[in-house]
Amino acid sequence: MESLGHVKPQSLRFEQPLPLKSGAQLPSYELVYETYGRLNADRSNAVLVCHALNASHHLAGTYEGEDKSEGWWDNLIGPGKPLDTDRFFVIGINNLGSCFGSTGPMHSNPVTGRIYGADFPVVTVQDWVDAQARLLNHLGITQLAAVLGGSLGGMQALDWSLRYADRLRHCIAIATAPNLSAQNIAFNEVARRAIITDPDFHGGHFYEHGVIPKRGLRIARMIGHITYLSDDVMNEKFGRELRSAVAGTVRETYQYSTQDIEFQIESYLRYQGDKFSEYFDANTYLLITRALDYFDPARRHDGDLTRALAAARCKFLLVSFSTDWRFSPKRSREIVKALLDNRRELSYAEIDAPHGHDAFLLDDARYMKLVRSYFQGIEGELVS
C-alpha cells in the first residue's frame, strides 16, 4: 500500500456569520481543509473524516519538504487503504477553535481587532458540524457517502446523523460515547485547571504577554495520555522500570529523590507533555475539552438516547475496543441499543485490543479489515 504522497491544505473564508449553540456568533471565519481522491460525476463518493482532540484536517499524506509530516490517519486513508482514496473523495476539515489553521483563539477578532484569546466563543460539536456542512455546500456535496470519526470525531459523526440526517448514507463512529461520564469530565477539568492556574496563562490572554502556559499544557497532556492507554499496555511498555541516565543501560537502584525522574513512565509522560506544549494552544485545549463535556444529544430528550437517535436515517458502523476505559464498549453499546430501539440498520464490532483508547488510531488487523470491508460495501452501493 502506498501513501498519498504530498498533499496540500486549502482554506476557505466565510463572511456569513455562524450562529453558535451558546447564542453567540462568529462574525466571519476561515476553515482549513484537505481533500484526497476525486469526486465522482454524481458527487456520491464523498467521505468526511472528523478529527478528535489534538488532530486536524491533515488526515493522510505528507507535506512537501517537511519531515515526519504524515497525516494522523495515514494508516487508514490512502490509495488501496481501508478508506481507499482511489474510490472515495475524502475530506478533512480543521474545526473552529483549533490551533491548526482554522479560525481559533490565536487569531484576531474582526470586531475588536485584538487577538481573541479567552474571548473566542465557546464552540460545540454542533457548531463544528454546522461549519463543516457549510464547507460541503461550497464543495457542491449535498449528500456524503459517509461521515467517519473516532472519539470526539465519532461524536461529530453521530451529530451529523441526527441533525443532517439526509446528508449522509453511513455513519462510522469509532471508540466514542453518547456523552461524557462524570469521570471523563473530571479528567478534563483537571487538565483545564492545570492550564488556567499556570501563571503564564494570563486569563487566556497570554499571547500579548509573549508567553505560553507550557507547564499547564504539559500536565494536561500527561493526564490525557494516562487515559488514552490501558493499564496493561502501560505495564507492558514501562512496568516499574527505572529510568537510566545513560540510554540503553538499566538502573537497578532507587535514587531516593522525590523530584527527579525515577521511573520510565514518568520520563515518558514528561516527554509527551513537553512535545505537546511546543505545538498546542492552551485556549484550544480548553475549548475542545469543553466541546467534549457539552456533547449530549439525549439532553434535549430528558436523557432518553432512544428518542434522541430517532432522527437518524443512515446506516451505522460502530466500533469499540475492549481495553478502552475512556470510551468503553459499554458506552458504544448504549448507542447500539438506542439505534436498535429505532430499528436503524447497524453493525457493531468490539475489537479485543490491548491498547486502550489509542487503539482506534493503531493498526489492529481485525479493525482495519472491518473498516475496509464496510467501505467496500459502501462502494458497492455507488452508481459507477
Partner: protein, 193 residues
Amino acid sequence: MSDRLTMETIASLVPQGARVLDLGCGDGALLAHLQATRGCSGYGIEIADDNVLACVQRGVNVIQLNLDEGLALFEDQSFDVVLQIDTLQHLRNAETVLRETARVGRMGIVAFPNFAHWPNRLSVLGGRMPVTRRLPYQWYDTPNIRVGTHADLEVLAQRNGLQILDSFGLHNGRLQRFLPNLLASTAVLKFSR
C-alpha cells in the same frame, strides 16, 4: 449444519418479511438468504471476530456480543422471529438465553444436534461417545458444552412456561416428523412466550 438444503428448510420456517434476530449467526449466510429470498430484515449476533467480518462483507447487519451476557440490548417482543440455530449447545447460560429468546421474539426457533439420534444411542450402548457427521468432535475436544436430546429440549421449554408451536426433527436437510427423537440428527423447536 451449513449445507444448503438445511438452510433452506430453516428459512422456510421464517415468515415473509419478518424482522429477524439471528443469535450466533456465524458468517451471516442464513440472514443473507432470508433477506434475498424472503424479504426479511434484522441483525445477526456473533462473538467471533472472523464471523463479524464475514457478515460485514456480506452486507448483513451484525452486532458483536457474548450471548452468555444476555440480550439486554433488545426490548421485549421487538422481533418477529429470533433464531438460535446451532447456538444453544455452545452457551453456558443456555436456559437463560432460551427464555430471553422468547422474551425478545414473538416466535423463537431453536435448532441443535439431537443426541438421541439412533446412531448416537448405538455408540453410547457400545460404550463410546458418538463421533458423527453431525457431532464430529471427540468428547475431550468439543465446543458443544450442552449435550441434549430433542425430548430434553421440549422438557426445558415446557419447564420455562414456553408455548411450543411446533416440534420436529431435521435430517439431511429434510423434515423428520415421525419419531424425531430417534430418527433426526437435528432437533427443532418453534415456540413463543
